[in-house]
């Protein structure tokens, strides 16, 4: 399908593909086994300017937006979505700063982020607050000159590896979600430590850890926007970042489709390649159609985000929900038509199937997001009555 990408977007996509094939492909199986954080690949991505893609030009970025980010994430995920996660979450950890940070905050952090010198993370989830973000308990008590954080964040991607964390914490407990604020916390701040590293089903080369705050003091200037805006900023952030999860899902599905086509062309049963069997053709045809539909929706949502549209909740939720369901279905079907080989760990499909699952869960589970879409439908109807 022709998506009429600009020359620059095509360059970004093709360089990301080259990195994926030349640098990531040879190590993806090993990293999945060892669950080691892919520092060498992060360096390759930094050297290639990939972290500059989503940072504005004034801060040493290339001034791209959501679509450019999606193109990189898709290409990396086509080969290894664990590594794509380590990369993509830097956008999640930077968007709030980019959109709402002060000039000083941006000057202080963004050039290092753009150069890939410092990784970032975003932390809202807690043991008691998953889908129900409003149930967070971590506090940031106002004191002379700053805030003191106490509490535990859970399942934080790049936790322990990142240098810069955007943390959502309650600056005013009494006001509930209206008392939540977004605060920048740097690694090595006294009182800030990391809990256990999770052992996961998929995206195993990515690091997921607890963040633990024990009387952790951060200066006043680390607050992003105004106190009480934290919850709103988180919701706006996810509206902008969800097409990225969609792109991750599209990449995984595309990778699985290609592996399935290669294998079914070579595998001979009943005297002919599997791909000649109508049943297999039917499955492959459906897979390809789903992948392309998901890609079209993801790119369209990303372009809408980049247009500066005020409200993109529905569109970005749709892109994430649809693409992640496609990734799960396509990888499952790919394993199916590759049979026993598809199920083996030295063949890439089982990893893709394990990796696909997370895209239905994080940045808002698909159930929660369908819910959000329905709420928008209802609101819109109510407005026209």
């Amino acid at each position: 399908m022709e998506y009429f990408l600009t020359e620059e977007q095509k360059t970004i996509k093709s360089l990301a593909r080259r990195i994926a094939e030349e640098r990531i492909l040879p190590v993806r199986a090993e990293l999945d086994e060892t669950e080691e954080f892919p520092w060498a690949i992060m360096k390759d991505l930094a050297d290639a300017d990939m972290f500059r893609v989503f940072v504005p030009e004034e801060y040493e970025g290339l001034g791209g937006g959501c679509l450019e980010l999606c193109l990189v994430v898709e290409e990396l995920s086509r080969v290894c979505s664990a590594i794509a996660t380590c990369y993509a979450v830097n956008a999640l950890g930077s968007f709030t700063l980019i959109d709402y940070g002060t000039e000083e905050q941006r000057r202080k952090y963004l050039p290092d982020i753009a150069g890939g010198k410092k990784l970032t993370a975003f932390a809202v989830t807690e043991p008691t607050a998953g889908s129900d973000v409003s149930a967070i308990k971590t506090t940031a008590e106002k004191v002379e000159g700053g805030y003191v954080l106490n509490g535990t964040k859970q399942f934080i991607t790049n936790g322990g590896e990142a240098e810069i964390y955007t943390v959502i914490a309650l600056t005013d407990k009494a006001r509930g979600v209206r008392g939540a604020s977004a605060i920048l916390v740097e690694k090595d701040t006294p009182g800030f430590s990391f809990g256990k590293k999770e052992k996961k089903m998929g995206i195993r080369a990515s690091a997921t850890r607890e963040l633990i705050f024990r009387n952790c003091f951060v200066p006043e200037e680390n607050l992003i926007a105004k106190p009480g805006m934290g919850f709103l900023l988180a919701m706006k952030l996810f509206d902008h970042s969800r097409p990225g999860i969609g792109a991750q899902a599209v990449g995984i599905a595309q990778g699985a489709l290609e592996v399935a086509v290669d294998y079914t062309r070579q595998r001979i049963q009943f005297g002919q390649p599997l791909i000649s069997l109508p049943v297999v053709q039917d499955i492959l045809g459906e897979m390809a159609t789903q992948v392309e539909a998901a890609r079209a929706l993801v790119y369209a949502a990303a372009r809408m985000v980049d247009s500066g549209a005020k409200k993109v909740t529905e569109e970005s939720a749709m892109a994430k929900v649809f693409a992640s369901d496609v990734a799960m279905k396509v990888t499952t079907d790919a394993v199916q038509i590759c049979g026993g080989t598809g199920y083996m760990r030295d063949f890439p499909l089982e990893k893709m199937m394990r990796d696909a699952k997370i895209t239905q869960i994080y940045e808002g589970s698909n159930q929660i997001l369908r819910n959000a879409i329905a709420i928008e439908l209802r609101k819109r109807k109510a407005r026209t009555e």
Partner: protein
């Protein structure tokens, strides 16, 4: 540190076909790339610049489309690039090529080190580097696998030889050729690609270099390619399959039949 990297554009695959009529490579429809061995030379040049400052100039003699290889060199870190291109340069052998490159180096003037790949993928001679040093009358070290130190106008390098490594010191300026063990070339960067698209790449011709027409290209070549061909395969290998025991049995049977054991 002023570094000159000499690189050549070659067909991007080792499976190019040869035109049986003209005995030349069929280049149509094949993507051209920087000669793989030269990518190590370029990377080493860029690393020297990163270590010691200065600049890297990429230089290539070739047809107008060789500009593509030079643009790629800029995307990989070369500061400047010069294309030596003139109809009169066509058909050059290694001697005429080295002469043309040497003339361009002299025109450029000051340099500390010239880095070439150990050989090209298409010509495979490995002669241009050493010939270039002869013409420039500067020292030469082949098959460099590590640049250990550069200080006080001297460089110390490791060079690969069959039995191991030799450590050699040479005064600058020096010409070296490098082997692939020396580094892992980087991929281009997005900013490098943007820069390479707008880079101005001057083209130097026979008048620009002020060289004698009779010493360049086919006219200046002492050697001539008479025929290029694939060696005939005289005997076929055989691969035994199945259980190891059976394979050994098959092998012994064949050897006995042939009267070898």
């Amino acid at each position: 540190m002023n570094v000159i990297v000499c690189l050549k554009q070659v067909p991007g695959t080792a499976q190019v076909k040869i035109d049986p009529e003209t005995n030349t490579l069929i280049r149509e429809g094949i993507e051209n790339v920087i000669n793989p061995f030269d990518t190590y030379a370029l990377e080493e040049g860029v690393r020297l610049k990163e270590r010691f400052g200065g600049k890297v100039t990429a230089m290539s003699m070739g047809p107008p489309q060789a500009e593509g290889a030079l643009r790629e060199a800029v995307s990989l870190g070369a500061d400047e690039a010069i294309l030596l291109s003139d109809k009169a340069f066509a058909g050059a052998d290694t001697w005429a090529t080295a002469y043309t490159l040497a003339s361009a180096v002299n025109k450029l003037g000051q340099y500390d080190i010239i880095i070439c790949g150990r050989q090209t993928l298409d010509g495979d001679t490995g002669q241009v580097g050493p010939e270039l040093s002869e013409m420039l009358e500067v020292p030469f070290v082949a098959y460099v696998s590590r640049i250990e130190e550069i200080a006080d106008g001297q460089m110390r390098v490791q060079r690969m030889v069959e039995e191991g490594h030799e450590v050699i010191e040479a005064p600058l300026p020096t010409v070296i050729t490098v082997v692939k063990e020396i580094n892992v070339p980087r991929l281009p960067s997005l900013r490098g690609i943007v820069k390479s698209k707008s880079a101005v790449i001057p083209v130097w011709t026979v008048p620009d270099l002020g060289v004698d027409q009779s010493r360049v290209g086919l006219a200046g070549s002492f050697t001539k390619v008479i025929k290029v061909f694939f060696p005939q395969r005289v005997c076929q290998g055989e691969i035994f399959q199945g259980e190891l025991g059976n394979q050994v049995e098959c092998l012994m049977g064949k050897l006995k039949d042939a009267g070898l054991v």
